[in-house]
Symmetry: C2
Subunit: 95 residues, 2 copies
């Protein structure tokens, strides 16, 4: 399941929140209460959604903070899973 690279949440913000409302990155950054650089890093996938940012997004876009965090988790886990075979972990519970 989930074979494809999930998009980083920044893409979703841009495509589902900013573009439909015709809001510029600068406007959004000001409204969210973060610097333009911080939002730019998120939108371009160079930073993730922190819990605090999830709350900010939930206020600004009247959504749930959980949904933003879940998207970030999907992204993070997809990357972490790729190292699964490199991790030296022993089973403790029988399958």
């Amino acid at each position: 399941m989930r074979m494809h690279n999930p998009p980083h949440p920044g893409e979703i913000i841009r495509e589902l929140c900013l573009e439909p409302l015709g809001i510029s990155m600068n406007e959004a950054a000001r409204a969210l209460g973060v610097s333009r650089k911080t939002l730019s890093a998120i939108l371009n996938g160079r930073a993730g959604i922190s819990p605090q940012m999830a709350v900010r997004l939930s206020i600004a876009f009247d959504t749930s903070a959980e949904s933003w965090m879940n998207q970030q988790v999907q992204f993070d886990l997809w990357n972490a899973e790729r190292q699964r075979k490199q991790l030296k972990v022993e089973r403790l519970a029988a399958a």
Copy 2:
């Protein structure tokens, strides 16, 4: 919803994974491939579950990495939500 402080995931590891199987922290740390200190910090709530740790847990205990991450998200969000009123965020989408 979710009025009560959610437990940090370390408690769940201890109560649902280590104690039922009678596994010591040292054994578990060795099996997980991390230092005793790292696992201690998690079990005592002084560190969170990283994506990599979620994958380690999923291997050792034959569970899903997602479930561990979700518990961590619940815990992180509960703390972040408490700052909601301190954040200066403007609405961009009408309610």
